[in-house]
């Protein structure tokens, strides 16, 4: 019974943990402009993150090694350091976006200027990383993140023409007033939002720290293959609600308030309140995860002691990195940069950075030296190679599309 409970808890937190500021903003933007015509990208992204997370989780469970251990062992110290630099730049941007997302969510409630909230959020994030019992925080935030189910309820309450929605999704029917290149740009952005690399850094490092072994593979797979797709459904619900409410009015999404607008329209104040609880939980949880991912990855490259369960004096370098990253992210936001713009940039660059960590994981997940009998099977390798190509194409296309479409205008 206890085991069932643990599995269920893992799945539930994976649902809430899947959605972060990147998913919220990008899905609402795409929904408002393209309706459900890009749902196939969300499905591809969700399957992709399942493939990626399952491989890295399995490597962590069998070999006890997390992502950046492997990056350095398989690519060597020089290429590994370049890889670390690029991956950490993107993860840091995501960290900034998540902290900004928490601040914007709190601004929706309090109407206090966002720059006054940012330092508070930065401090809270750091306190959680430094002091809190992280497993508890993770579960509480993950469960509160389930409040985002309110978007699915909103779609249902709006009483859409289900046949038309399904038709648009299945035929990838782009609205006539949008260009194909912006369609392609948002396809890459959605893909990057669903397959953000930090999710894997966090997932594999957490697995190592919780001493997963081969006997935990089934639990790990249940979390990944049930939790992430259910999280993907929340993403689709965000897009659908935006299409139903904002689409006819030709409203684009530039603020977090507009992301929540369809819920307010469908369910009123109560719905809005629930949505904001979901925003705060999802972005705060993701802020902790991205912050930790920065610390994990840098410490793993240099071999320094890392871990959220290790007391700070035992892992001084790790905690110094966490402190500096949080300070830097807060300082970045205090320049009055728009967190929504940071989010848009971070999801596109996530797509650029994906192959850097995906490729070494794919190789090691096959390596009998690390994996013994738990190496990739035929299915995992077939999917793995398909996604290596897909990820490669998205990474190459991302920056040219960004420039060509002027970030989707």
């Amino acid at each position: 019974m206890k085991r069932v409970f643990a599995v269920a808890l893992g799945i539930l937190t994976a649902i809430g943990g899947f959605v972060d500021i990147g998913d919220l903003v990008t899905n609402a933007q795409v929904g408002a402009r393209f309706g459900l015509s890009l749902v196939w990208v969300v499905l591809m992204g969700v399957l992709g993150i399942c493939v990626f997370a399952e491989m890295s989780g399995r490597v962590a469970a069998v070999s006890g090694r997390a992502t950046f251990d492997l990056v350095r062992e398989r690519l060597g110290p020089r290429v590994g350091l370049l890889n670390l630099g690029a991956s950490m730049l993107i993860t840091f941007l995501t960290f900034v976006a998540e902290i900004g997302g928490v601040a914007l969510s709190l601004q929706l409630v309090s109407s206090v200027h966002v720059l006054l909230i940012v330092p508070l959020v930065g401090l809270l994030v750091w306190l959680v990383l430094w002091r809190a019992r992280f497993s508890l925080m993770e579960n509480v935030l993950g469960l509160l993140g389930l409040a985002l189910v309110v978007f699915a309820v909103a779609v249902w309450q709006l009483g859409p023409d289900w046949g038309a929605l399904v038709h648009q999704a299945v035929t990838a029917d782009k609205p006539a007033d949008e260009r194909w290149r912006t369609y392609a740009y948002y396809a890459v952005a959605l893909f990057g939002a669903a397959m953000t690399p930090y999710e894997v850094f966090f997932f594999s490092s957490g697995g190592v720290e919780e001493h997963w072994g081969p006997e935990d593979l089934r639990t790990m797979r249940a979390n990944v293959f049930i939790g992430f797709p259910l999280g993907g459904i929340l993403s689709v619900a965000v897009a659908a609600s935006a299409w139903l409410v904002l689409g006819p009015l030709e409203i684009g999404v530039d603020t977090l308030g507009q992301v929540a607008l369809p819920v307010a329209a469908a369910l009123g104040k109560v719905g809005l309140a629930v949505a904001i609880v979901g925003f705060v939980a999802a972005t705060f949880g993701a802020a902790c995860e991205t912050g930790l991912s920065v610390g994990y990855s840098i410490a793993q490259y240099f071999g320094a002691q890392w871990g959220k369960y290790v007391r700070p004096p035992e892992a001084a370098v790790f905690h110094a990195i966490l402190l500096l990253a949080t300070l830097a992210a807060t300082a970045f936001l205090m320049t009055a940069v728009d967190p929504i713009v940071v989010t848009e940039v971070s999801v596109v660059f996530s797509a650029v950075a994906l192959p850097l960590t995906y490729f070494p994981i794919l190789v090691v997940a096959n390596d009998p030296d690390y994996m013994g009998e738990h190496g990739n099977g035929r299915l995992a390798n077939a999917l793995g190679m398909v996604y290596l190509v897909v990820i490669g194409v998205a990474a190459v296309a991302a920056i040219p599309l960004m420039i060509w479409t002027r970030m989707g205008q």
């Binding site: 069998v62 070999s63 006890g64 090694r65 251990d69 350095r72 062992e73 398989r74 690519l75 060597g76 110290p77 020089r78 590994g80 350091l81 190592v208 001493h211 997963w212 072994g213 081969p214 793993q300 240099f302 071999g303 320094a304 002691q305 890392w306 035992e314 794919l362 190789v363 096959n366 390596d367 009998p368 030296d369 690390y370 013994g372 190496g375 990739n376 390798n381 793995g384 190679m385």
Partner: protein, 228 residues
């Protein structure tokens, strides 16, 4: 956790593939650094692993070229009053308990590191130019293979190739018959490394001063190896 993996110290290992850049863990599972380089000493005329080097100096040395040299100098300049700052930290090979996906030490991490003595380093051996018996350059040292012999890991052969990318992925070491997938990646790496060959240590004259290995015979054998 990783207790199910084989202890590699009981069989042959490829230094760069299996030992360099691995995590160092102490007897309580706590982390104390990476294997940034490996110390080699000549014992009875044969190169033997005598220690593991760790710390920024050893890492920067492996970056090689101008960048590595300049960064190494800067590292020393950060505190010129500290003696031997540019010498890396060293763990004696006798303190190593087992090697699997990490290096497990038999001791606690407190106080285990010593400044290294000026010795030879694996990170300088890999990357050396290789000249054939006729003095022609035929490639570079990609890796060095060690075998256990009376309790020590002794150099038995060198893996020599053209220095194309992907040798650290391990496909070229398992040979063509291995099931190390995905097959497309394996095919690509094997094609890139089709010239990679293995040279017995006694046929290789290593000149550390001018970073060159001179062979006394032509390498012919592919590096396929019965690794478990």
């Amino acid at each position: 956790m990783s207790g199910d993996l084989d202890n590699r110290l009981s069989g042959p290992i490829d230094g760069a593939l299996h030992l360099l850049d691995r995590q160092l863990l102490d007897s309580e599972g706590r982390m104390l650094g990476k294997v940034d380089d490996v110390e080699l000493s000549e014992i009875d005329g044969r190169l033997t692993i005598t220690g593991l080097l760790t710390g920024p100096e050893a890492l920067l040395d492996r970056f090689g070229g101008r960048l590595g040299r300049i960064l190494g100098e800067r590292w020393g300049q950060l505190r010129v009053s500290e003696p031997d700052r540019t010498r890396p930290w060293r763990v004696d090979v006798a303190d190593v308990d087992r090697l699997d996906s990490a290096v497990h030490l038999a001791v606690r991490r407190e106080g285990v590191l010593r400044r290294d003595r000026e010795r030879l380093r694996l990170g300088r051996l890999t990357g050396m130019d290789v000249e054939g018996a006729d003095g022609q350059r035929i490639g570079r040292v990609l890796d060095a293979r060690f075998e256990p012999e009376s309790g020590r890991l002794v150099l038995c052969s060198l893996v020599v190739g053209h220095g194309r990318p992907g040798t650290l992925l391990g496909y070229d070491r398992h040979g063509r018959g291995s099931a190390h997938g995905p097959w497309l990646l394996r095919a690509i790496v094997l094609a890139l490394h089709r010239h990679t060959a293995i040279v017995a240590a006694e046929d290789a004259g290593i000149s550390w001063a001018d970073a060159t290995v001179r062979l006394r015979s032509e390498p012919t054998r592919p590096p396929g190896h019965p690794f478990r």
